[in-house]
Symmetry: C2
Subunit: 355 residues, 2 copies
DNA sequence: CTGAAAGCGCTTACAG
DNA sequence: CTGAAAGCGCTTACAG
């Protein structure tokens, strides 16, 4: 079309690509413009073979001129890299893993990869079918954020494509496990409370099907043992990592008759629920009860009183998962390490007052 | 079945599936088993034409027997539906839109669609390139969760595939806008405070580039006007929807010298930040200052004191966005409506006490 | 180093 | 109603 005069506004629609008929630029068009074969363009794109500098230049020029972007679907179909990584998360709105996903993106996107999120909802079957779905979409690798998918499924999956999994510790070729030292975290939290003079420390655990929950409880017990405080089962109540379960747990604790001056909640969400429960019973944190969480969610900073908690960087977990995946894909050995858990003292824990 | 040795050596030493030999079941295999042509299988799969009941049965049996799942990438490439919907969110870890994404999934997944999330990070350019990326991945539609992508881009995009966008109100063919009545919400929040006897009501706005922020402020102003309270600019301070900006806003308010007994924060995150700021200055909510948020995030229930806020269901927004997208794809007219904002009185707002 | 060709798994005109 | 064929956009042995 000849240049049409627009009024005064030179609104340049994004589709103002360098004059070509078809809406979509294909590799073939690049090849034609550069005067080489499609194979050559592909090779240059993928660094699959050494190509004459001249041709390389011609191709790159053509790519820029046409604004060419390879079609990931075609790539995937043809057997090359689809440049997408499947991420199995449990819920797309998880406060904790949301941050991990962000870390994954920040690591993957600059390398041209995008992530395909699917939610397993803590359901073994759903998670397994997520794997199938991702495989059918030809992802180049799968990152599994905890969940309940059987180890065996993970291992057999790793035979096909690289796998990075968090919250477990299984080993296999092309399969990397990334996990924080939850025992240490649980220990730190409890020890902090002990150092503040508390001896009647309750523990709200996570869902005991999860290694994390088991480890955090174990850390709690170890800390007690180190301080020669006997472990009273009446002080341990099971939650499931949700706010609501924290609330319920506190109510149960409160109605049990067993007194306590501090609570270690196995994650921040349960700690928030616990804080609400305490509030409903007219108890003040930390005046009446000290409270320590686990995770250090953004909410921990902005709750009142700000929550003392164990920092295990969800973001770093994501970054490391992402970069390790890239390593596995390129046949490098991932070397990164997760930072160790750190206590973040805020205002929800205080010295035990004699009363 | 006899083990078919293909001449072209496609080494696959790993076969776990019990029911079928090949690793991946293709449409061709189904066709062969059912004794029909691939075209027919495709047609049955897509309901693209009427097929003899006999053949249909044979095909469906074969599908079940082989455990066949169509490959979305091949589908997309071939020009059919890719069964994936692109979702442009601003940040994958957004507390509010996370819930919306869940609503989208809950609506889309049962219909066999999966969502492809990309983050725009409130950046016009990034968001626009997200669109390109999604188009290149052959999504069947795009859902845009607010953001700053120009309306024009959205409109031109809608010429190619269906678009659903939240937080705006533009109209076009195959383009649906979904937005809560933020003016009403702002009005409700402010009116609630007025009814509690407050007259010096501060407002922390969102980023004023966003319609939502503008509308909520307008609702605030309307409520004041209705109550014949003059609008004092000193009481209005600009935030950007983050907790931190809420914190800063309160500090600014506090140091301005202008007294106030209540705050309407344009979203819960800023309300949480404001609550922290108040706490840091030794002010109690609601004793010294009443506080009302907007959104009704899960955190609003579990913060102390529980936050009075305006409920605009992020989840319903997602469901509606998802179902509307399905409607658009199938050339139906979306009819659903978003629920109107509701005041959720909790403990952060109270009657003004004479002091 | 670099084409030509076959093929990834599916869909859609095109002819019966 | 239903095949055969061409093609979506790319990659990868296979031969020069």
């Amino acid at each position: 079309m000849a240049s049409t005069l627009s009024k005064t506004s030179r609104s340049s629609t994004l589709k103002n690509r360098n004059t070509n008929p078809g809406e979509v630029v294909t590799l073939d068009m690049v090849a034609r413009l550069a005067g080489v074969s499609p194979s050559t363009v592909s090779r240059i794109l993928n660094g699959t073979a050494v190509v004459h500098a001249e041709k390389t230049k011609a191709v790159n020029d053509a790519i820029v001129k046409l604004g060419f972007t390879p079609n990931p679907m075609a790539r995937g179909l043809a057997g090359g890299r689809s440049l997408s990584i499947g991420v199995i998360t449990q819920a797309i709105d998880s406060p904790y893993y949301g941050i991990t996903m962000r870390g994954i993106e920040d690591e993957l996107n600059p390398s041209g990869y995008s992530s395909l999120y699917v939610s397993g909802h803590w359901n073994t079957k759903t998670e397994s079918s997520c794997v199938d779905m991702l495989l059918s979409r030809r992802v180049d690798g799968i990152i599994v954020l905890t969940g309940r998918i059987p180890d065996t499924v993970l291992k057999s999956c790793a035979k096909k494509i690289p796998v990075v999994v968090t919250g477990r510790s299984l080993k296999a070729s092309r399969l990397l496990s990334l996990t924080f030292d939850s025992i240490e975290g649980g220990r730190l939290a409890t020890q902090h409370l002990i150092e503040l003079g508390h001896r009647d420390i309750a523990c709200i655990t996570g869902n005991m099907k999860h290694p994390d929950a088991i480890d955090r409880l174990q850390g709690y017990q170890q800390a007690l043992a180190s301080a020669c405080i006997s472990n009273d089962p009446a002080l341990v109540v099971t939650g499931d990592f949700t706010e609501e379960s924290g609330l319920k747990a506190v109510k149960k604790l409160l109605s049990s008759g067993r007194t306590f001056t501090a609570i270690f909640a196995s994650n921040d969400q349960m700690a928030l629920g616990a804080a609400l429960g305490l509030h409903q019973h007219g108890l003040k944190v930390p005046k009446d009860v000290s409270l320590v969480g686990f995770d250090d969610l953004p909410a921990a900073t902005y709750t009142l009183p700000p929550l003392t908690t164990i920092h295990v960087s969800a973001y770093e977990l994501g970054r490391l998962a992402g970069s390790s995946m890239l390593d596995l894909i390129d046949n490098r050995v991932p070397v990164g390490e997760l930072p160790s858990p750190k206590l973040i003292p805020r205002e929800s824990s205080a010295f035990l007052k004699s009363r």
